[in-house]
């Protein structure tokens, strides 16, 4: 079997090495657009901030590929797929034939159409080459456009490097897709406490300067700076699939076995559109754990095992300096368009904050800052099991002294929710 994998990210490597574990003879080729072995994009902000070395970013070494007999082809971007002839064409013009093809090229950084965005003083923090450029850049004042997880982590890293950091967010609060306003406002206050300037509800109109950045103009102010980091999100790379005649929605559409609409072509990782494991809705969570699980399913199906993908789930953490926050499931804003009996449980204790969203007495999401976050896994479990909130409350109320130790997860949930 000739297996060709497009993309040398987390998903692509997981497929390659999982298939190799089960099939010694398969001919496996990974086509990488970059020139390094697999690295973890999640580590890049910490590499930027100097919390870890460059070697710690990598998940594989070049030797791993040779010992597992996997062909890793650097610097070969795939420009087209011919599903009839079963070949892919790279930007150098080379043609590679396949028996099974895996699309794991992930997402592309969304570059907003702002005048001056192609200035050499504008960086991103998604790919290693870009991050290295940013790490080597000497500046003193930085503007981070966008306050998603990458934006906040990049802001922390630059602050650690001694920059004056400004975060500009278009939406009303920071981390808008992960947190609700009350949680985000608390995180914003914490960020400001560390000396990072945060401007929400502001739109960047222009990046000024020629050859180097001199200022960023928003609709409310002009911020003098010499470095700009673009962290405005990642869009799934669907163009390649669409031109090959593969069905796409927001991402590449796949079934429960990660097969696309075209036979013998699989897709996994940041570029696919999957379902939410808890609700069954179409969802896109471009998160590492989902990429790994999707790749494991694809690999098992490629080697002929029976398998079924359960679905993706949202879990993310925001961590800067000594503030720790985490979120899972839906935000309150995401539940706004669902009919049902909704309730929000909030707990606050000094700097710690907990917010749990209930829909029809079932936990559908939650956010926490500080010590309350330590028990977040229990809430995630309750969400997966669809525990009834009233039942938990009843258990906490009725468990007698010294009895029924098996109720402890419910008791712990009850303690966490302040019942």
């Amino acid at each position: 079997m000739k297996l060709v994998i497009i993309g040398n990210g987390i998903a692509g490597n997981q497929v390659a090495f999982d298939v190799r574990k089960k099939d010694r003879d398969a001919h496996i080729t990974i086509l990488s657009a970059e020139t390094v072995p697999e690295y973890d994009p999640c580590s890049l902000p910490y590499f930027l901030g100097g919390e870890c070395g460059r070697t710690d970013v990598f998940r594989k070494t070049p030797e791993d590929y040779t010992t597992h007999n996997i062909d890793l082809v650097y610097d070969s971007r795939v420009v087209s797929i011919d599903p009839e002839a079963k070949t892919v064409t790279t930007h150098g013009g080379g043609q590679i034939s396949y028996d099974k093809l895996v699309l794991a090229h992930g997402g592309d950084l969304f570059i907003p159409p702002i005048p001056g965005i192609d200035n050499p003083g504008v960086f991103s923090c998604k790919q290693l080459a870009e991050t290295e450029k940013l790490a080597a850049h000497n500046g003193s004042s930085a503007v981070v456009i966008g306050s998603g997880a990458i934006g906040i982590e990049a802001a922390e890293a630059l602050k650690r490097k001694g920059y004056a950091v400004h975060v500009v967010e278009l939406m009303d609060w920071i981390l808008p897709s992960l947190f609700d306003e009350p949680t985000a406002r608390r995180l914003e206050t914490a960020l400001k406490g560390y000396g990072i300037h945060v401007f929400t509800g502001e739109k960047v109109l222009e990046i000024k300067g020629t050859g180097e950045v001199s200022a960023v103009v928003t609709n409310l102010r002009t911020i003098a700076c010499d470095t700009v980091v673009v962290a405005t999100g990642v869009v799934p790379g669907t163009a390649l699939a669409r031109t090959a005649g593969i069905d796409t929605g927001r991402g590449i559409q796949v079934n429960r076995q990660m097969q696309t609409s075209v036979p013998d072509i699989y897709a996994c990782g940041d570029c696919v559109e999957t379902i939410d494991a808890c609700t069954g809705e179409t969802a896109m969570f471009q998160l590492k754990h989902n990429a790994i699980e999707q790749a494991q399913v694809a690999a098992r199906h490629i080697v002929g095992e029976k398998t079924r993908y359960l679905g993706a789930y949202a879990f993310a953490r925001a961590h800067f300096f000594s503030t720790h926050a985490a979120t899972f499931g839906k935000t309150q804003r995401a539940t706004d368009c669902i009919l049902g009996d909704k309730r929000v449980i909030e707990r606050e204790d000094k700097n710690n904050y907990l917010r749990v969203m209930l829909l029809n007495n079932q936990i559908v999401g939650g956010q926490a800052i500080g010590t309350f976050a330590d028990g977040l896994g229990l809430l995630i479990g309750a969400m997966w099991r669809k525990d009834d909130f009233m039942e938990i409350a009843a258990k906490v109320r009725t468990t007698p002294r010294g009895g029924a130790v098996h109720t402890w997860p419910m008791l712990r949930l009850g303690n966490l929710l302040g019942m």
Partner: protein
């Protein structure tokens, strides 16, 4: 189907909440008598007079390995999952995703720590400390099959259909 390699078997019914296991763990791994340095967390429910030792169960599909941004959570040959202190940056992703919240924070470094089953000992120190109560016992590979464990759980009446 056999259970995967060595693991700790926890019987909260027998736990008296003495916390000797926590002291033993801190002594073994950090050479100090301080329950904050223990990988075991004995959670007390005062109102119900219950104590439950929470330890890393080294899940077969451990979510902490997948969510760690630094790939610091590593499955060892013994089956346990431990934090690589060379690369851990203390972001606590593993704590938040853990279904039982078992990773604990080392107060000195801010990194997480979980049970490594005292890999270099014949018996984990917490198990030795709990020899009288037997709330913590070591199941070695082949010592317990899943059906046998199920039957044993049913006998203690602690088994619940949901957990």
């Amino acid at each position: 189907m056999k259970l995967r390699r060595d693991h700790l078997s926890i019987d909260p019914e027998k736990c008296t909440g003495c916390r000797r296991c926590m002291i033993a763990c801190a002594m073994k791994h950090h050479n100090r008598i301080d329950p904050d340095f223990s990988c075991v967390d004995v959670i007390g429910f005062a109102a119900q007079d219950l104590d439950v030792p929470v330890i890393c169960l080294a899940c077969e599909t451990a979510p902490c390995i997948k969510v760690c941004p630094m790939n610091a959570r590593i499955r060892q040959a013994s089956g346990s999952v431990v934090t690589d202190t060379d690369v851990c940056i203390g972001c606590r992703a593993c704590v938040y995703i853990c279904p039982v919240g078992s990773p604990r924070i080392n107060p000195a470094t801010g990194q997480t720590m979980t049970c490594d089953l005292c890999a270099d000992e014949t018996e984990p120190w917490c198990v030795a400390a709990c020899r009288q109560e037997r709330a913590l016992t070591l199941c070695t590979d082949g010592a317990a099959s899943k059906p046998a464990a199920r039957r044993a759980a049913a006998r203690t009446l602690a088994g619940s259909p949901r957990y």
